[in-house]
Symmetry: C2
Subunit: 479 residues, 2 copies
């Protein structure tokens, strides 16, 4: 089976086998974790378990061998030690499986000759049998439309973003962090050492995949630079591709080699490859989440002129520094807008009647203030209106802060609905675990209303600058 | 009364009057907020309320005039409009008050001639009457030892850090964020426009204050550059001073002028003044919190050689890039350390037996693994051992994650107690409000055990690099 067909089959899987799950009385092991999460996520297909010891777990029979399973199996997850994997591939082929996900590690990433040899053998078997291999050293696929996932607390809804990731931990973090800001995924794959299905196969697959509108990729190394570049360039011509390269420093590249056996390529080469291919480069997983939020929720901007409104003069000073550093400008407001704020707010403490507009605690609750904001949103001199909520930079306790933040949220969402001006929200200054927990509800309100939400002015400015440059480059270059 | 005496008196205040608090049936206003917070924080002294309307609130009588209060008042908080403030200063002098905090805004920061005139008059009255003025446009003092605070959710314990801040919102955010990571404060002052007590007065005061061991400052502008430089240099010679300058960009400086009437000085001048004076410069409030954590919890480091241990290979790759960018090195581990990890972990999935050490989920629970960590901590080739906990980058749900993280925390704290090697913890990958909430308990466990805690590898590396350079410069320069 070719790789595209195999990927189609596993993202629509109807049956899975976990090989190496421990019987019920042996408790916690990784096979058991996969099982728990597949059940909890609500997988509707068949789940089969395999372990030579037999037995059962959670009422499911454990088959001694893959061949003992009476029905077809689409997708097989290997949690057995590396030396047993080659035989598993052969058994999987006999069983007619489409793909095997090797959670198993201990291959080329261990830096030993035996590890490399075992990986070459797995690769050879994948090619000769046609059972495609994901990994080794990975978590495999997360596919909401098949109600299938490898981990808890990942979103159940499908969405326009697909994410390919060479690290399991980074996969889980990015999906969870982006989900909390309104990003939903079509296809997610943690693909580890990429001995068979590799980054280029995945880019090509996602290029053709109609459900994927945006691609995110965490990559430590590529197998074939020329093929990768061509696939990336072709993909980036039709869909935004956000790339985080892990191991860009000399030291990081050495670690990447021992993590996923990635080959070292200099940072400069990588950066110019990504730029020339038209990808959007980011430097951390948080920047990747910022970029996905921007691509999904931000309309195309006419330029870099920004107005900012929110509580807190000092936050406004630092915000202005942050916008300025990324090349944005905060224009003076026209007298009619200033007058509208003056009418609404009077000489209330802490108010600055310029841009950034510093709003007193209760401003958002008043109609006159809403009218002034409407005037601000109609100001032709700005391309973007940004609201910031300094969650724990206000005098109210969390118990009564909703007095302020409910109204602010409601006012912003209403204005966003009624206005054509691009808008964004920065929910920042969370300060504590309680502050973050408190903010989550509002973040959800905002993204459900279609607003991009960021967690610092600096990160918002960086992502929006990249977004503006991305669209400028697309307009400038012949596609 | 001179400024030092006044500051001493108000940081030890025994009575406060809030002028401009609304009677009970008028509900929510800023005077009422101050009152609520002063009561909630547990102030043991006398609280007096003033409003010409009279009445009462929360069972406290509201006096029509300051003069009607039968007893002495140390500290007066003004929540009345700007045009009434000059008379309040005179009344405060008649009453024998030590200082007046002007929450009131509408002075020079409004950019109007009348605002500037009123501020000059306040300044003149402060000098002529000896009643010192804090502000205008500020929150005033937070003094745990006097059980006095202006806002909820600020820590009650005293500590070695004092913080002077020209923005009220930034004051509250920094104190809350740093408190969540184990920083406690001696004296905090939000000082606004600084028309009487200014940044230099405060630096001089904290220089002499034996309870203050570390000074943090958020400054938008200074009144007298020469005097400021001298005070900063003298203070920095004996105590670490962490400075965030707001309004360093041209645009930010214009906003600072309308926030606290700060004069614009170029970024380059500022940066070289701060460097030459021996201050530690930071670029955001989060970096300030990182720096305070480092100064309090990190022992002096011998150099820049780091070992990192934690769950997750991909996180390790990105971590290595981050350490490398800040100039740290991750040395190869000696064979005896590698062998100890090999003995402890075997061929368990996801393990890298090099530096960074990638630990499988349950590694921290085993004695053999703890022994290997002890060997790692004894390795002379590293100056610092960093643990990272990718809170939401693991396969466990929050409900069962304590299985892993309890043991990891316990193991790290035990090792830290038994070893002389400097250590740090990065609790990162929180991903969601729930993740941050969940992490808070562990962060507290760590700082209570004396460990510095950071929320990203990049921010840890940046702060620790500044810390190393700070100590190198101190050793190099003649003090």
């Amino acid at each position: 089976m070719n790789k595209n067909e195999a990927l189609d089959a596993v993202f629509n899987l109807r049956s899975v086998a976990i090989v190496g799950v421990a019987p019920g009385d042996e408790g916690f092991n990784t096979g058991r974790l996969f099982l728990n999460h597949i059940i909890e996520y609500g997988f509707k297909g068949r789940i089969y378990l395999v372990n030579p010891k037999g037995g059962d777990v959670l009422g499911l029979k454990i088959y001694p061998h893959l061949q003992d399973i009476p029905e077809p199996v689409d997708y097989i997850i290997s949690c057995i030690p590396a030396p047993f994997v080659a035989q598993l591939i052969k058994d999987s082929a006999a069983k007619g499986a489409k793909a095997v996900c090797l959670f198993t590690s201990g291959f080329s990433e261990f830096g030993t000759e035996s590890g490399r040899q075992m990986e070459r053998e797995v690769q050879r078997l994948a090619q000769s049998t046609g059972v495609r291999v994901i990994g080794p050293n990975c978590l495999g696929i997360h596919s909401p439309k098949a109600s299938f996932s490898f981990a808890p607390d990942l979103p159940h809804e499908t969405g326009p973003v697909s994410f390919i990731c060479q690290s399991g931990g980074n996969t889980m973090y990015l999906v969870r962090a982006a989900a909390a800001r309104g990003i939903r995924f079509s296809k997610v794959i943690s693909y580890g050492n990429a001995c068979d299905i590799d980054e280029t196969d995945l880019l090509e697959y996602l290029h053709r995949d109609a459900e994927t509108k945006v691609v995110a990729a965490y990559i430590e190394g590529v197998k074939d630079g020329r093929r990768f570049y061509r696939a990336l360039q072709e993909l980036a011509a039709v869909k935004p591709v956000v790339v985080l390269k892990g191991g860009t420093t000399g030291a990081g590249a050495r670690v990447a080699a021992s993590h996923t056996a990635a080959l070292a390529v200099s940072r400069d080469v990588w950066m110019s490859v990504l730029d020339q291919a038209g990808a959007i480069r980011v430097d951390s997983l948080d920047e990747m989440a910022d970029m996905l939020v921007t691509l999904q929720y931000m309309p195309i901007l006419g330029g870099m002129w920004v107005a900012r409104a929110g509580v807190g003069g000092g936050a406004g000073v630092l915000a202005t520094d942050d916008w300025d550093r990324e090349g944005f400008s905060l224009p003076e407001l026209p007298e009619q807008v200033r007058q509208a704020f003056r009418d609404a707010l009077g000489n209330d403490a802490g108010t600055i009647l310029s841009n950034p507009v510093d709003i007193p605690h209760l401003g958002f609750g008043h109609q006159a203030f809403r009218d002034a904001l409407t005037k601000l949103s109609e100001f032709q001199g700005i391309d973007l209106l940004v609201f910031h909520l300094p969650i724990r930079g206000i005098m109210l306790s969390l118990a009564i802060a909703p007095i302020l933040i409910d109204r602010e949220t409601e006012t912003i969402i209403r204005l966003h609905r009624e206005s054509a001006k691009p808008m964004a929200v920065v929910a920042h200054y969370m300060a504590t675990g309680e502050g973050w927990h408190f903010a989550a509800k509002y973040v959800k309100d905002f993204y459900e209303a279609g607003l991009p939400v960021y967690h610092s002015i600096a990160s918002a400015a960086k992502a929006i600058d990249r977004f503006v440059r991305y669209h400028r480059n697309r307009t400038a270059s012949p596609q």
